[in-house]
């Protein structure tokens, strides 16, 4: 695949690198790279991949741009709020580099479409914010023999690893499963805006290396980064003989989103209360002398900053151990900041035999928006 005079000028600094050179740049042009999630990780990764001359760049995201995305999702401008992310991203990336092809996939990846989407690409970058998607994408990459560069972030910390088919551990080797509610989402826990910039750029760097054939990929090594202390650590990861998808007795034959539920993904039904609905129930409970059992599952420092009157604090991470503090027929209502952790708490309580647990949909943010505008959480 030849390069035009303009392309040679555009990529001159990269062509000057002996590790890339003309043949490497031609390989980049021929490469098809898929970025899953146009979020904090996907945005910087896609910018660098487009700039580097990856010939075909796919983006998967079903979501629309929100104002709260803009502190880290650097593909988008204020005027893009409300637009489909993949559409706004395509425009921005083509403005940066009109010589490449951008494919926008405005959809949710699932077991029904993941093979078809990933099958059309050579390299996959996972920047999704759902654990179920991480397992699904991993399985698809293992089964289809596609390299996968995965990264994840939380508050000030990030981690990244590259999977190469047949050569190293996959994501299920790294973390065989993740219990529901064990890991907080960025929406609940917060994230430093520049953090995914570091990790997303690392993912792009890995993809450029894989596509061009330069250097040594991050295979069998987990890279962790702590922005607060500027600490990188590189830790070895081995293939697991008992891995369900790449192990010796693998039993996963088709991509699965099994084995997890993140804090924001309640997998079991729960009573969902709106903020105004909860207000009515609280008043009724107070009037008839049977106050509601309100359990605030945020961390203790969040609870200390502000909480609803009468609420008790059992952080989600302690709930399993302290579930005996609740009677089976308490019908507790779980509360958190935005409704993710409380939904996970419902599922956990139900498994522990608590009858009819409920949660405040939208969390205390919804309470502040719809019931009590003076209820400031104090850390936003």
């Amino acid at each position: 695949m030849g390069l035009s005079a303009e392309e040679r000028a555009r990529y001159q600094r990269q062509l000057n690198l002996p590790e890339i050179g003309l043949s490497g740049q031609q390989r980049l042009k021929a490469a098809r790279v898929l970025v899953i999630g146009a979020g904090g990780l996907g945005c910087p990764a896609a910018l660098y991949l487009a700039a580097a001359g990856i010939g075909t760049l796919g983006l998967v995201d079903f979501d629309r741009v929100e104002l709260s995305n803009l502190h880290r999702q650097v593909l988008f401008a204020s005027a893009d709020v409300g637009r489909l992310k993949v559409e706004a991203a395509r425009e921005r990336l083509l403005a940066l580099n009109p010589d490449i092809v951008i494919r926008a996939h405005a959809l949710t990846l699932g077991t029904d479409n993941v093979r078809q989407i990933i099958g059309a690409y050579d390299i996959v970058l996972d920047g999704s914010d759902r654990l179920t998607t991480r397992y699904l994408v991993n399985d698809a990459c293992v089964l289809l023999g596609k390299p996968l560069v995965t990264a994840a972030i939380h508050r000030f910390e990030g981690q990244a690893m590259t999977y190469l088919p047949g050569q190293g551990p996959c994501y299920r080797c790294l973390f065989p499963s993740v219990p529901e509610g064990a890991v907080g989402s960025c929406a609940d826990a917060g994230v430093l805006g520049v953090l995914p910039g570091v990790l997303g750029a690392l993912q792009a760097s890995e993809a450029v290396k894989l596509a061009s054939g330069a250097g040594e990929p991050l295979v069998g090594r987990l890279l962790t980064y702590d922005a607060l202390t500027v600490t990188f650590a590189e830790l070895p990861v081995s293939r697991r003989a008992d891995c369900r998808v790449c192990g010796e007795q693998a039993d996963i034959r088709a991509p699965e989103d099994s084995g997890v539920g993140s804090a924001s993904e309640g997998l079991e039904p729960a009573r969902r209360l709106s903020a105004t609905g909860l207000k009515v129930l609280l008043a009724a409970g107070k009037a008839n002398g049977a106050p509601l059992v309100l359990i605030d599952v945020r961390e203790s420092w969040e609870f200390a900053a502000r909480h609803l009157e009468g609420a008790r604090n059992i952080p989600l991470g302690q709930l399993e151990r302290r579930i005996a503090e609740l009677a089976p027929d308490d019908a507790p209502i779980f509360i958190c900041r935005s409704g993710g952790r409380s939904l996970a708490a419902c599922a956990l309580a139900r498994r522990a035999g608590i009858i009819a647990p409920g949660h405040l949909e939208g969390g205390l943010l919804a309470w502040a928006e719809h019931v009590d505008p003076d209820f400031a959480l104090g850390f936003e």
């Binding site: 999630g37 979020g39 904090g40 990780l41 996907g42 996972d126 920047g127 999704s128 914010d129 759902r130 654990l131 991480r134 990264a151 994840a152 972030i153 939380h154 508050r155 000030f156 910390e157 990030g158 981690q159 790294l174 973390f175 065989p176 499963s177 993740v178 219990p179 064990a182 890991v183 907080g184 989402s185 960025c186 826990a189 994230v191 995914p196 987990l222 962790t224 702590d226 607060l228 202390t229 600490t231 650590a233 590189e234 830790l235 070895p236 990861v237 081995s238 993140s262 804090a263 961390e299 203790s300 420092w301 952080p315 991470g317 302690q318 399993e320 151990r321």
Partner: protein, 88 residues
Amino acid sequence: MSCTVRIPSPLRSYTRGAQRVEAEGTTLAQVLASLEARFAGIRFRVVDEQERIRPHIRLYVNTREAGALAAPVAAGDTVHVICALSGG
């Protein structure tokens, strides 16, 4: 004997935000017990009721992965507690 334990972001609410803490012990089990004594509840986030390291947690002594709580820890070692992250 004292070692340094690096705490992953999702567990820092137990250590009042500290990213690195000191702990005592000559095995991982003792180090985790030492942590628990100071930061109640943290051990259960790392080890389950059957004393197994949880599947979304990995423990390293320096850069050596520890598959069991009996793994030795020497003075001056760094124990890395790695936790799966989900944010993107």
